[in-house]
């Protein structure tokens, strides 16, 4: 029997036993429901029609209202106007978020917004207010209504807002990283635990007499990895469904999903191989968490970095480094910060790291798994005979 066949048998057992556990299906269900909710709830909250803009106005008469309505129509808003009497009320309405914007048409004309209000909305309203004053000015100068209309027919410069979806992309990037991070962490502990249990239970000795250590290690990695991937699929189904159905997803989700799948699969192999080898070092199952702690720290650090500095120089560096790229890359793809060269080089480095980890990992595993009675260090495992 080849090592491939025995690896397949080991992985098959791992999967069957995983699928036999109720907790597995419970978590998968939670992921599916949570992800569905994340896809559906925004749809429900934002009625699909145009965004509504509430504006409170002081003075300005019918003319201003007509101009605002025309501007709103061009911008594709649903306009809600309300008239207030004094500036104080106007300000408090804006402050309390009762309205999006306040216009005081009295001298000097003022547009009141909360800090950070949408730039295009503000600009549109300011233009309308300015226009009204311009109309008054021109009329005072003796121009006819026709002449005024002709003058105003000159189209205003179109406003193009760049990076309009940046917020959406960041949210997607965060969600992806968070799910991956949790999943990777869980599976890593699962592999280390599984190996430690096999060692503590002495099943490993029964098995090592039948199959090579490599088959035992990779069979477990593949089995647990495929189980984890099933989880990921459960979480990804709603995203894909929405993508295919053409729902209103933030741009970049498609690429992020594809990139995530690739980097996650490879990252999973790397991390699980290492944690499997580390799990073989321990004497008791309780030590499995401690022995994988260095990997956990790297994961936590990368997760934080992927959230805060995916588009910085640090992010670029971490996108190349094999231990950090599996979490960093999907984030960078989601926010559109990658280049083709970076993608290719990062991928190659990751694959090379997996090959290296497989070599060293199976050596550590083979040498540690039957050495019971004490907790070994990596150096001891590699040095001995």
């Amino acid at each position: 029997m080849s090592i491939v066949t025995s690896t397949r048998l080991v992985a098959g057992r791992e999967l069957r036993e995983t699928f036999r556990r109720k907790s597995f299906w419970a978590v998968a269900l939670v992921l599916l429901v949570g992800s569905s909710a994340a896809m559906i709830v925004p749809e429900l909250l934002s009625d699909d029609s145009d965004p509504t803009v509430d504006i409170a106005v002081i003075g300005g008469g019918e003319e201003l209202r007509a101009l605002l309505a025309a501007a709103a129509e061009r911008a594709g808003w649903e306009l809600e106007l309300r008239t207030v009497d004094d500036a104080q009320e106007l300000r408090s309405l804006v402050e309390d978020d009762e309205v999006d914007l306040g216009v005081d048409a009295n001298e000097p004309p003022t547009v009141v917004v909360r800090s950070g209000a949408g730039a295009s909305m503000t600009a549109t309203v300011r233009a309308a207010v300015q226009q009204q004053r311009l109309v008054g000015q021109l009329r005072d100068d003796g121009l006819s209504t026709a002449e005024i209309d002709a003058a105003l027919a000159v189209p205003a410069p179109r406003l193009e807002e760049l990076d309009a979806e940046s917020e959406g992309r960041q949210a997607v990037s965060f969600a992806i990283s968070f799910v991956l991070y949790l999943l990777l962490l869980t599976l890593m502990v699962q592999v280390a635990n599984g190996v430690a249990i096999e060692k503590a239970n002495r099943v490993s000795e029964v098995l090592l007499a039948i199959v090579r250590p490599g088959a035992l290690l990779f069979g477990k990695v593949i089995g647990v990895g495929v189980g984890g991937f099933t989880m990921l699929v459960a979480g990804a189904i709603p995203v894909v469904v929405k993508l295919v159905a053409g729902g209103d997803l933030p741009a970049g989700v498609g690429g992020a999903v594809a990139g995530t799948v690739v980097w996650f699969a490879l990252g999973l192999m790397l991390y699980l191989t290492m944690s499997g080898a580390l799990g073989a070092l321990v004497e008791r199952q309780e030590q499995a968490g401690a022995v994988t702690a260095p990997l956990t720290f790297v994961l936590i650090g990368t997760f934080i970095a992927a959230q805060s500095s995916a588009d910085t120089a640090l992010g670029t560096v971490l996108a190349y480094f094999p231990l950090t790229s599996p979490l960093m890359m999907p984030s960078r793809i989601a926010i559109g910060a990658t280049s083709t060269v970076e993608l290719v080089v990062s991928l190659l480095l990751l694959v090379a790291a997996i090959a290296l980890a497989a070599r060293i990992g199976s050596t550590i595993y083979a040498r540690s798994i039957v050495r019971t009675g004490t907790r070994l260090t990596v150096r001891e495992a590699l040095r001995q005979s």
Binding site: N201, I210, Q384
Partner: protein
């Protein structure tokens, strides 16, 4: 040799410590072979080497006349001293899976596992998790895991450890059946007296060296500590020189120390020709005594 498992000159070091120092071992077909010696002698290490769990620093292993391969090992069965099974896996699933690792297809594996469970009296526990079985049942499942693929060589490391008398009898039966079928069997034990009657042959090791090896019957016969006891007064002159010496003579009879290799029946005939013997016995050394003889120690030290 053609039908044997032959390990020669096995040396195993752990760090600077030599655990096995040039051990030879032969397991012929159809014979119950015991690997005996005190705890820490190196028995488990040798078995792990046989199964490739450890790679020896020196030495060779041949099987049926050729150098041992992984494919050969896959047709062997091993029950390690440290019993181990997946505790949260169903008994029948586990045995079937192990059979498949040995190269059987799923159907054959499942049916053989079922038959074996039946034979072990566990046929109704196949769908239970191992952790739900009693200790004795789990031990039988462990034995089943070593035999489910009907191995050509069955290796049992300290199989009698922690067994109750019923289980000992049962295991003895399993071993005897396996050997009668003309297959190979090797088991280890540090309880020399317990396995005395079971072994056809022994390899006795101590501190990583073979101290005694061969057919148990012959080893006893060749021991200088073998006695013929008769309920008659025996004149030392009756015993021909070279066959034995009278050790002790009293009212209850005479104790004659037999020389190594001498046929006790011949000596008895000599005595019976001269005196009436109504009761007699041959006192052969036990395996423990043979061990003490071979090592020059005063007791079988357990470490």
């Amino acid at each position: 040799m053609e039908n044997d498992l032959v390990a020669s000159g096995i040396v195993q070091r752990f760090g600077g410590r030599e655990v096995l120092r040039g051990v030879d071992l032969e397991v012929p077909a159809g014979r119950t072979v015991g690997l005996v010696g005190p705890n820490g002698a190196g028995k488990t290490t040798l078995m792990r080497i046989l199964f490739g769990v450890l790679t020896p620093d020196e030495g060779t292993i041949d099987w049926l006349g050729h150098r041992l391969t992984d494919a050969d090992r896959r047709r062997w069965g091993y029950m390690p001293q440290e019993r181990g099974l997946y505790r949260d896996m169903r008994v029948l699933d586990q045995l079937t899976w192990i059979a498949r690792l040995h190269g059987l297809d799923a159907d054959t594996g499942r049916s053989q596992a079922g038959e074996l469970l039946e034979r072990l009296g566990l046929s109704d526990r196949g769908s239970d998790n191992v952790e739900d079985l009693s200790g004795g049942m789990a031990q039988r499942v462990q034995l089943a895991a070593a035999m489910v693929h009907r191995p050509e060589l069955l290796v049992l490391d300290e199989p009698f450890n922690g067994l109750d008398p019923v289980a000992v009898e049962f295991l003895t039966e399993v071993i005897t059946d396996h050997v009668r079928a003309g297959r190979h069997l090797l088991f280890s034990s540090h309880q020399l007296d317990l396995v005395e009657d079971l072994c056809d042959e022994i390899t006795m090791i101590d501190q990583g060296r073979v101290v005694l090896r061969g057919e148990v019957r012959r080893l006893k016969q060749d021991s200088p500590n073998r006695y013929l006891r008769v309920d008659a007064a025996v004149d030392p002159d009756w015993i021909s020189h070279g066959s034995g010496t009278v050790e002790r003579s009293d009212a209850s009879g005479t104790r004659i120390r037999l020389n190594a290799g001498v046929d006790a029946a011949d000596v008895l005939d000599h005595v019976r020709a001269r005196a009436a013997v109504s009761d007699f016995a041959v006192e052969s050394p036990t395996l423990s005594e043979l061990f003490l003889e071979a090592t020059g120690r005063r007791e079988v030290a357990s470490r």
